[in-house]
């Protein structure tokens, strides 16, 4: 940035400075665009206990695990979780650790690997309030939230689902034009949305290196904050070269956390596989409450993010490169 040289005398300085202020005031104020980079600790500090938090990813793919573990480490309580139509470890961990008061969900499980042990225990012992939703509730509720609409009326026939009767958040509205009554879902506006993507630039422009799941909708619907963790930090110039690849625009993102392997032990699409050995060990150990507590101690509470990666073995994770889709653009992750 150009700096003005010192003036020859006080008077000329005054005149000069005065005119400078008039002519260049705005350029001085917006001298530098603000990067949104935060540490995972700083980003999670933005989440207040008691707030509603949407977690992105789908099943064991693209889950923001590094941020989820930090939420447990910072002892957040009474969260109201909003989950994508397929949530796995990210939900099970927060529920088992006692971070959540209630959960709006349509599926919590480990898909082909099994059921979610901590979630099951919490429900079977009535330790958590579950709002049994379906995929339509989550998706169309987020759509309404993203558009600032109060609710979304669903097409006819969706009331056959028992959740529509047992989950008090569903309601009916009569269309004044036809007199017909319609099942509706309320808008979903999470206080904070947390997603993980393969790449992001310092200003929050996100690139998913695979499917986007409900990540973009969750980001759009957030009331207050959007936190993005990413495996690879790319430059703004890289974003600008191919802006059509941006999946979430930076102007709705508040915090960018550069977190290589931030999905582990879930998969970051196109970058690394899910760590099945770790996931299966978690499921086995968490079959009992004591086992789950031990897992928390061993992998979450005692370790910050770099220590966790060290503990599970950086070499092992980077030895799990995802074969299959070559995006031709990533590659920095495993080199560093």
């Amino acid at each position: 940035m150009d700096r003005e040289r010192g003036p020859p005398c006080f008077f000329s300085f005054f005149i000069f400075h005065f005119s400078f202020c008039i002519l260049h005031w705005s350029s001085l104020i917006v001298a530098e665009r603000k990067e949104k980079l935060l540490s995972v600790e700083q980003a999670v500090a933005l989440i207040a206990s008691g707030s509603s938090v949407a977690l992105g990813g789908l099943g064991l793919y693209g889950a923001p695990m590094g941020v989820a573990r930090e939420i447990v480490r910072q002892g957040k309580k009474e969260l109201s979780l909003i989950l994508s139509p397929g949530a796995g470890l990210q939900a099970d961990l927060l529920i088992g650790a006692g971070c959540a008061r209630e959960v709006l969900c349509s599926y919590i499980g480990f898909e082909d690997l099994g059921l979610a042990p901590a979630f099951r225990r919490a429900v079977e012992s009535a330790k958590i309030e579950v709002f049994d939703a379906d995929e339509a509730y989550v998706v169309f509720g987020l759509k309404a939230g993203a558009a600032g609409s109060p609710f979304f009326p669903l097409a006819e026939g969706m009331e056959g689902f028992d959740g529509a009767r047992l989950n008090p958040k569903y309601f009916r509205v009569q269309d004044p034009r036809t007199g017909k009554s319609h099942l509706c879902v309320p808008a979903i506006n999470p206080d904070v949305t947390v997603i993980h993507a393969g790449q992001c630039d310092p200003y929050g422009n996100v690139r998913h290196l695979g499917s986007r799941f409900t990540d973009c909708l969750m980001a759009k619907a957030a009331r207050r904050r959007v936190i993005v963790s990413c495996d690879e930090l790319i430059s703004l110039e890289a974003t600008q070269q191919e802006p059509q690849l941006t999946s979430v625009p930076g102007f709705i993102v508040d915090a960018v956390v550069h977190l290589p392997y931030g999905c582990h032990p879930t998969c970051s699409p196109s970058l690394y596989e899910r760590d099945e050995e770790h996931l299966r060990a978690y499921l086995k150990q968490s079959a009992t409450e004591e086992g789950f507590r031990r897992y928390l101690e061993e992998f979450v509470l005692r370790l910050n993010f770099p220590q966790y990666i060290e503990r599970v073995g950086r070499g092992k994770i980077s030895g799990l490169p995802a074969q299959g889709i070559d995006h031709g653009k990533s590659g920095s992750l495993h080199d560093s």
């Binding site: 793919y61 499980g109 429900v123 995929e135 987020l142 097409a155 026939g157 056959g160 028992d162 409900t214």
Partner: protein
Amino acid sequence: MEKAAAYTIPELIAVTLARHIEDGWLAVVGTASYEAAIACRLAQMTHAPNFTWLFGGIGAANPHLKPMPPSTADFRGIRGAEAVIGIDEVDDYELAGKVDLFFAGGIQIDRYGNLNLVCVGDYAKPRFRGPGSVGLPFLSRVKKVFIFTRMHNPRVFVNKVDFISGVGHLDGPGSRARAGLKEDDGPSLVVTNLAVMDFDGASKRMRLQSLHPGVSQASLIENTGFELLRAESVRVTQPPTDNELRLIREEIDTQGILQRI
């Protein structure tokens, strides 16, 4: 018997589902559905080249699945696809009633084809908590439903589900119409590790069509928690042909997931 091609039960399920897919349909395949995804691809490669299917979670339209990825949410499922759309867009088509066929399962399946993925026992205090309904409530917005499971036992095949995640024929004749649904839509096929069933047009109850090779009627009855109707002539399920098995193993499921699960 000579030269009976050795096949696995999941392969038999996939082949049977594929044979019932009609050319020109649009189908959606959801979570944990290896057999259904492979059936879709097999149908396209055999009798239904104009059939379209969406791999739900990742939103892939007509992926080629060579090989079948380890999970239906896996990004590799988009290989060879013609389009990748968001979950929200898949849901648009489902809610708008544009989908002809949905593949579904459950922790409980009842005699009218209602499906439960939520709980066993009282909802407020369940004996067993399942994962949740995911996309099953969309069943009321699609025309046909193919039910499939590898768990044909009396805990899954119950007289009445404890929670309706996906509507079948509800309480029998007339009940779909009363709920504002088309009486003739809904579950039309059930394929399990033991048998193939459909639904009787008049009573809407599940009806045995064929037993898989080597399965006795006695064992089917023992493993079903309600009384099954019987078709006029109960047959033996036609095993996979050499060609079907070759297509599955060499052109689709090249990593042999259906031989492992």
